[in-house]
Amino acid sequence: MIIGAPPEMPGRDRGGPGTPLLQVRGLAKHFGGSSGLFGRAKAGVVRAVDGVDFSVGKGETLGIVGESGCGKSTTARLVMQIIEPDAGEILFDGEAVGSRALGLRDFRRQVQMVFQDSYASLNPRLTVEDTVAFGPRVHGASPSAALAKAHDLLHRVGLEPRRFAGRYPHEISGGQRQRVNIARALSLDPRLIILDEAVSALDKSVEAQVLNLLLDLKRDFGLTYMFITHDLNVVRFMSDRIMVMYLGKVAEVGEAEAIFEAPGHPYTSALLASMPSMDPDHRTQEAPLSGDPPNPINPPSGCRFHPRCKLVSTLCSQAEPALNVMAGDHLAACHLVDPQSGHPRLAAA
């Protein structure tokens, strides 16, 4: 077993630098009721993910933000193939997952996930080293080789093997547990790691340490990240590109700085405005988001955000906007971005 492999082991990059590592098209998942899809959905069906397209380039970090219930965690699980999508396709390095070119087991070696609850993610009966060594053992490593790899990874994530390898989850802190989870995710030499609110449950100081660790590991191992969070500061710090989700659909996607400097979707603007500010010159005077949080069972007609949007017009309640291009790869699903949509505010400009 080779430890400390250089970024992008030779032979693994099948698609070449131009192919995105992950491409998702038309992904959808509805819970409850039989396969009712767009329009044919039965009453009571939760449309958790309702037609999502995005891609993740090699070596970049895609941040995914949104409020609770927007579908970001479900999207992660659909990509990981933990749950079956109702529609859509997932291409990893140009190949469809589950096809002959890329079997599920093979896929699993290349994509791993770190969960939010560090305690629930660890088997209370296994020691730290056994937990990290489990993956390699499953794929055929000998016990000693797997343990050696586990110790090396523990060292890489900042947990000294002499102190930590023989410990049980309940004996270490939350931050340390999350490092174990990261080590476990790395144990299969993945190319893509999905971090689902991986630092949300940690104290702020610990969170900063873990985030820096993630950046170091990304550089050292040549990783690609999908970073899911509801914390806007964190997502700005970590991401190259950001995707904003709302009610199971993509609201906006683009370069991180572009999103923060010039948000295209009113929802994104509202999210940014709702970040509490320490600057007395920029106090938050009124609540940027009005209305009740949306109900994923009965989403609003037309643009899903229209009941809470300050720039709403009748067009918005009738027609659902596509992901329109703002500039380059900066896209937003809003009529105001499309000069030909017929939104009344555009005519005034």
Partner: protein, 295 residues
């Protein structure tokens, strides 16, 4: 960064923490009641196993001239029964059958019930529903009734009695096994194990069994006292062991007519059942307490 092959490098020994079962044992050892109960159980088991060597007399040989002697008669330290056999000997030998018939159904039910419950819970879906519904049918009978009905239908005998009690306990254990396994199966670390590409069998072996067998085992130990009372009860009714085999429940039955003559002697076999039952209950409670400490 150069690649290094570390499999040849010896790993320095890490500090090892106490495992889960080791911590349970440690807590158990500090519980005086549980330890006392365990001591009583071991004593009874030992007396039963060593009965052929320790008992003063022959459990089958009696003499009508010496029947129903009271406790403390010379030669009969605990008196003699209705056929003149020494009570102490009969009680010791009786322990063999009573303990065997009480513990065996629980052991069998533990194995079978856990298998059914864990399987049903891990597979989930309609298989789970069907299996648990079938289990529900057995739950529709009160245990005593089911045990007696099955025993009555199968006929008397040791094997039949063990079979019917096993059938009574399998649904109870299966239900607990299913509940605990469903709970465990939904936890994140099982999902993480699935993501690493492990086969269902591996996941059950490594991740589920270790977390599930403990609670099921504790529940099973709490069933032992019920099993002993029921199996002796079956013999009491004449559905289990047949005379002249020594067994506590059967002895209670045959000594019933002697309650006016020698009430103390007549009550002795039941005292043994009582003591055994209390000991198993106290030990089971202690075990549950030792396992329940929130980690």
């Amino acid at each position: 960064m150069t690649a290094v092959d570390l499999s040849a490098v010896p790993i320095p020994p890490a500090e090892r923490s106490e495992g889960y079962w080791a911590s349970v044992l440690r807590r158990l050892r500090r519980d005086p009641v549980a330890m006392a109960a365990l001591a009583v159980i071991l004593l009874l088991v030992l007396a039963a196993i060593l009965a052929p060597y320790l008992a003063p007399a022959d459990p089958f040989r009696g003499s009508m001239a010496r029947r129903l002697r009271p406790v403390g008669t010379p030669g009969f330290p605990l008196g003699s029964d209705e056929l003149g056999r020494d009570m102490l000997t009969r009680l010791m030998f009786g322990g063999r059958l009573s303990l065997f018939m009480g513990v065996t159904p629980v052991v069998l039910a533990f194995a079978i019930g856990s298998g059914i419950g864990i399987f049903a819970a891990y597979v989930g879906g309609w298989v789970n529903t069907v299996v648990m519904r079938i289990i529900d049918v057995f739950f529709a009978f009160p245990s005593v009734l089911l045990a007696i009905a099955l025993s009555g239908a199968l006929g008397a005998g040791i094997l039949n009695s063990i079979v019917s009690l096993t059938v009574v306990f399998v649904p109870q254990i299966a239900r607990i096994a299913e509940a605990v396994t469903t709970q465990t199966r939904n936890r994140d670390f099982v999902e993480a194990a699935r993501i690493s590409g492990a086969s269902p069998l591996t996941i059950v072996r490594v991740h589920i069994l270790g977390n599930v067998l403990g609670p099921i085992f504790v529940y099973a130990t709490s069933l032992i006292s019920v099993s002993m009372i029921l199996s002796s009860g079956l013999s009491f009714l004449g559905l289990g062991v047949k005379p002249p085999e020594p067994e506590w429940g059967l002895m209670l039955n045959t000594l019933r007519t002697a309650i006016y003559n020698q009430p103390l002697v007549a009550a002795l076999p039941g005292v043994m059942i009582f003591i055994t039952s209390i000991a198993f209950n106290l030990f089971s409670d202690g075990l549950r307490g030792a396992m329940e400490v929130r980690q």
